[in-house]
């Protein structure tokens, strides 16, 4: 059977399980790959501890320093907008909050749908802006790989299908919802094997950075 409902149930059932398994296996493998490499002992007399500066950098690096902000305002602002938009839609949309509650048993208040709707629209626009920037800025042109465009496409489609499903712009609805779930699953599957890993590893990277600089007495 290949009706719309079967498709939706497939994405909510077996496909979700598969995606989550690949995601969990891939992510933990990646994390193990990182941590097991370890660091060499550092014999230089430290100026300060590592933990606190490391943790501080985990947070402070979220905000660009004023000079960088000035030099790369578009890049920084657009990046910010879509990351925040994505996070709001991901975590504060009622169906998503219910999903997380259903899966992990942790719940938090969600935002009214029209707010999430607006945020999603802004996110979509910001995502398009990042693509334009990637295609036109000489540095980004030079360093971008197929992976960058693949990841962009998947992220964009996740948001777009979500938007279409919410507005019921694709019929029948189970197809719309199923597409959205499927895109999210594809995102989960590629996450551990692409730069999307940064969702998790950026905190590790920032910690190492903050620790290394903090040890030398600089808050990075």
């Amino acid at each position: 059977m290949s009706g719309s409902m079967e498709f939706l149930l497939w994405t909510k059932g077996p496909m979700f399980d598969i995606a989550l398994a690949i995601f969990a296996i891939g992510l933990f493998a990646r994390l193990a790959e990182i941590f097991l490499l370890g660091r060499k002992p550092n014999y230089a007399e430290p100026r300060a501890g590592e933990w606190l500066p490391g943790l501080r950098t985990v947070f402070t690096r979220t905000i660009a320093d004023p000079g960088t902000f000035q030099r790369a305002s578009f890049n920084v602002v657009v990046g910010w907008v879509w990351h925040i938009g994505f996070l709001i839609a991901l975590l504060l949309f009622v169906p998503h909050a219910e999903l997380i509650k259903g899966l992990f048993g942790i719940a938090w208040p969600a935002l009214p749908n029209p707010v999430v709707d607006l945020v999603t629209a802004i996110t979509l626009i910001a995502l398009v802006a990042t693509l334009v920037h990637r295609l036109t800025h000489p540095v980004k042109q030079r360093i971008s790989t197929i992976e960058d465009y693949l990841v962009w496409t998947v992220v964009f489609l996740v948001v777009l299908t979500g938007y279409l499903a919410y507005h019921r712009l694709v019929n029948p609805y189970p197809v719309a919802l199923g597409m959205h779930i499927l895109m999210a699953e594809i995102l989960l599957i590629i996450l551990p094997f692409t730069k999307l890993t940064h969702i998790f590893t950026t905190f590790i990277a920032r910690w190492y950075n903050g620790a290394a600089f903090g040890r030398k007495g600089v808050q990075s």
Partner: protein, 369 residues
């Protein structure tokens, strides 16, 4: 009991014979038109068509079912069951409603088939153990459901699968489907099949489909699941009177909280309305009295395939069906082991490399100058 032949009277004659006034008849036509979302200008057309129509012979087959669909049918109010049986169709075989029993009943079915070859309608409720299943799972007069179905539909004009069991397999087909239950659509490939799904289906939808057939002499327009678009064209969610609350993000979070009392949206309580196509929200139940969501209960999605296996009735639509946090953790642990092993191997390799790392000497550097 003598076998009743399909009467030669037209539907109009029959109705008049039963004392239905012209006004009453037109009222019935108007109700039918509105039910099928036809413009009022169609009322005279319907009236004329019904007036001249011959009552079709209908054979109703019940397989693995709970009689809920028949129960539902008996609560049809426009047209009423009496109207339907006595006037509109000639119900020649129906376990629950016919007077005949035993061999006489089966005889009636065969006779009706014989007399109305190629013209009779077959209505099925309940799912059927497939051809590969043990035929003994469900039999009538010692004959397997599958055989009866295939024998009966062979010369039928069309088949109407009433209820989700007949339309999509329903409860009998739910995991693990011990009887190998199949839907009519799965088994009958060479006849038009109309699905009137729902557990049970809305009675007026059953009668509405029959009326449509009589009026226009053909089957109504169907969706991808062979359901008449007139009744299944819109989702519950799209016509739900609680929708404004959904749009504003106001949700009941338990069955007795403030939101529930204020009639807010039932999404978080598991409402499957967004993905369910049925007419409950517009036609309501019990003579238009109310419908499940109006009475404060989320839609279960009963008119959709596999609704028994589509996750908990009280789990929101967005919650995955089978995944659990335990399973995720297990997968994660496996990943850690795999990744860990790979890294340990890589590291071991690196250690040997480092151990054999050749120190750079000044001579080597000088060589480069």
């Amino acid at each position: 009991m003598p076998v009743r032949k399909t009467p030669d009277k037209t539907l109009g004659e029959s109705l008049r014979d039963h004392g239905l006034s012209r006004r009453g008849f037109l009222k019935f036509c108007a109700a039918t038109a509105s039910m099928m979302a036809l413009p009022p200008s169609m009322v005279p057309v319907i009236a004329a068509a019904l007036d001249a129509a011959r009552r079709p012979s209908v054979i109703w087959l019940s397989f693995q079912e709970c009689t809920g669909c028949t129960e539902s049918l008996t609560r049809s109010h426009a047209p009423t069951l009496e109207d339907l049986i006595l006037n509109i169709i000639s119900l020649d075989y129906h376990h629950t409603l016919q007077a005949a029993a035993g061999e006489a009943a089966e005889e009636a079915r065969l006779q009706a088939m014989e007399d109305n070859k190629g013209e009779y309608l077959v209505i099925v409720d309940g799912s059927i153990p497939g051809p590969d299943s043990n035929p003994g799972f469900s039999t009538v007069a010692g004959q397997s459901n599958y055989d009866i179905l295939m024998e009966t539909v062979e010369h039928a004009a069309a088949v109407i699968a009433v209820g989700t069991c007949a339309a999509f397999g329903g409860l009998p087909q739910a995991n693990p489907n011990p009887t190998g239950a199949r839907s009519v659509m799965d088994l009958v490939k060479d006849k038009p099949v109309i699905n009137v799904s729902g557990c049970p289906p809305i009675p007026m939808v059953i009668t509405g489909v029959l009326t449509h057939y009589l009026t226009f002499g053909r089957l109504p327009e169907l969706d991808a699941y062979h359901r008449p678009l007139a009744f299944f064209g819109q989702s519950i969610h799209d016509r739900c009177y609680r929708r404004p609350f959904y749009d504003r993000g106001l949700f009941a979070e338990s069955f007795d909280d403030e939101g529930a009392k204020l009639g807010w949206c039932l999404y978080r309580l598991g409402c499957k309305g967004p993905s369910t196509y049925n007419a409950c929200a517009t036609m309501k139940w019990n003579d238009g009295t109310s419908w499940p969501i109006e009475s404060g209960h989320p839609c279960l999605g009963c008119s959709e395939p596999s609704f028994w296996d589509a996750g908990g009735f009280y789990e929101p639509l967005s919650v995955p069906i089978t995944a659990t946090s335990g399973a995720i953790l297990a997968a994660g642990a496996l990943g850690a082991v795999v990744g860990g092993a790979a890294t340990v191997l890589a590291k071991k390799e690196t250690k040997t490399i480092v151990a054999h790392r050749q120190p750079v000497t000044v001579e080597e550097l000088e060589d480069k100058l």
